[in-house]
């Protein structure tokens, strides 16, 4: 294995060794949402014709779990290495900026995909799943996870304490994922909140992802693709620039 492959493997092993916490836990949480919201709202909410509310909910929950876990993986790995001081072992190596980026973001993408696959696998027990356009599903899953893995990298570099990272997670990532249309179609919102939702990049990730399952969405999947790709490139560029500058890791 070359240098970046070793780091990628180490990052995967890092979360896999505690898979109960990093994979099984998030899957269980998503299932609880599915059971409780699905049970409570099944007969009250109809988003699209011919699609049950529970079926509508599954892709949203899978994407939400994917995004949150991709973010959690790179950010918590970095902050732990910083706080423990063992980041020095990496800083002493000839690994380049690109190597770091590929390894950290790659592991984040893999964790995100593993968790969302887990959500689908368990969901299949409760409801029928459909996969109308698999390529769209894969594209949005990979781009969303890359975006959040890179965002986690930035947050992990920036944060000096677990506290600051938790703030980033609770005040930025959580609200943006919850308010992105996981549990509802934004067409059911008042016009003002529809406009606000359109400014949230997370909305496009969920909406585009869902299009791959049902072939219907709130906005065109091409628009979603453009927004998500732009956000992904922007965030990745910032993450690479911070890594290159050694932001908060090389004095």
């Amino acid at each position: 294995m070359s240098g970046w492959q070793t780091l990628l493997y180490k990052e995967i092993l890092r979360f896999w060794k505690v898979a109960f916490q990093t994979v099984a836990g998030p899957v269980l949480t998503a299932m609880l949402y599915l059971l409780i919201f699905g049970q409570a709202l099944e007969s009250h909410v109809k988003v699209y014709d011919r699609i049950s509310y529970t079926a509508f909910l599954v892709p949203g929950l899978a994407m939400m779990s994917l995004l949150q876990n991709a973010f959690a993986n790179s950010s918590s790995s970095l902050i732990m290495s910083k706080v423990m001081g063992n980041l020095v072992f990496l800083l002493l190596t000839p690994l380049s900026t690109i190597n770091w980026f590929v390894a950290y973001v790659g592991a984040a993408v893999i964790r995100g995909l593993v968790v969302s696959l887990g959500v689908f696998a368990v969901s299949a027990l409760f409801t029928e799943l459909s996969f109308v356009a698999p390529l769209w599903i894969i594209a949005f899953a990979v781009m969303g996870a890359t975006l959040m893995g890179a965002l986690g990298l930035i947050a992990g570099l920036w944060a000096e304490k677990f506290d600051q990272l938790a703030a980033f997670q609770n005040f930025v990532v959580m609200p943006m994922t919850f308010l992105s249309g996981v549990f509802y179609s934004i067409h059911s919102l008042p016009p003002f909140w529809q406009t606000v939702s359109h400014l949230n990049p997370f909305f496009y990730m969920i909406d585009g992802f869902r299009y791959g399952f049902f072939g219907v969405s709130d906005v065109s999947p091409w628009l979603s693709l453009a927004v998500v790709a732009t956000a992904m490139i922007l965030v990745s560029t910032i993450a690479l620039a911070l890594l290159r500058a050694g932001y908060k890791i090389r004095g």
Binding site: M1, S2, G3, Q5, T6, L7, Y9, K10, L13, R14, K17, S81, M84, G85, N86, V88, F89, L90, L91, L92, T93, P94, L95, S96, G246, R250, G251
Partner: protein
Amino acid sequence: MSAISFQSVSKTYPSPRGPKGSTFLALDRVSLEIEEGEFFGLLGPNGAGKTTMISILAGLTRANSGQVSVLGHDVQVDFAQARRCLGVVPQELVFDPFFNVREALRFQSGYFGIKHNDAWIDELLSSLGLADKADANMRALSGGMKRRVLVAQALVHKPPVIVLDEPTAGVDVELRQTLWQFIAKLNKQGHTVLLTTHYLEEAEALCGRIAMLKSGRVVALDSTSALLKSASSNLLRFKIDSELPKALADKARVTGRIVQFPAHDALEVEQYLTAVREAGLVARDVEIRKADLEDVFLGVMNKNSGSADMEAGQFSDRSPPGKLAPSGGSAVGEATSGEAIS
């Protein structure tokens, strides 16, 4: 070609105490050349800039000006090659709690792109007395064992230049012996070794050349033997129970009840002892000993105490009891974490 080269290197940090925006000069135009195969010692009080120099060398921090290279590879421009040539044992006892010893060493090899490194890893483990700990989780190891793993991690890629930043701070005698035997062997095989330490005895025993650093400047640089020769002479050492008169105390190095005078010949010894007796004091446990590196070190540090920095006080002759180790000097101050930001 030099194994390690510092050319007019300066580094400032934001001052932690002063007003906002003020800076602290950690290194002031330091130049130093270390040749291939040398065993080189970098000495200096806490905050002198030793760790800053090593951090710049290792690419952990960047110099504000000047150039640093390892075997001709600039540490910024040609960082990948420079880091391949360099094995650094960090000062802090850090580890990754997710892995066992062998995994940690395999990963470290992998970061350098080295495959199938188990033969060398096994050799490192047995040389450092870690063979039976290979499968132990890092968390389960004692401090001394963790230190050994740090040394092994620094050497997985067989670097020609080895840097040890206070590797024996707070470790037991056995590890010190094992470690120094191993490092001395590597040095004999041609590896260049750069060592920072607080234990002057170690530097005296191991290093061929020594640089003394103070307030970010090199204040002495010579072979160990030449430095020892430069120390004036022998020392008259005794204990007393009450304070010396000021006239005498000014000429002596006083550490609690221990008094030391530099003495060139028997006449001087007699004069000092007479003066003590006439002051109504009793000198006990009188002995005459050879000057060692600690005396050189203290001499150099005092000579350069013109700048009114905090660290200087710690090494002045007026040190309060306990600040300096009594006689023979196994330690100059304790290794503290007060070193310049690492």
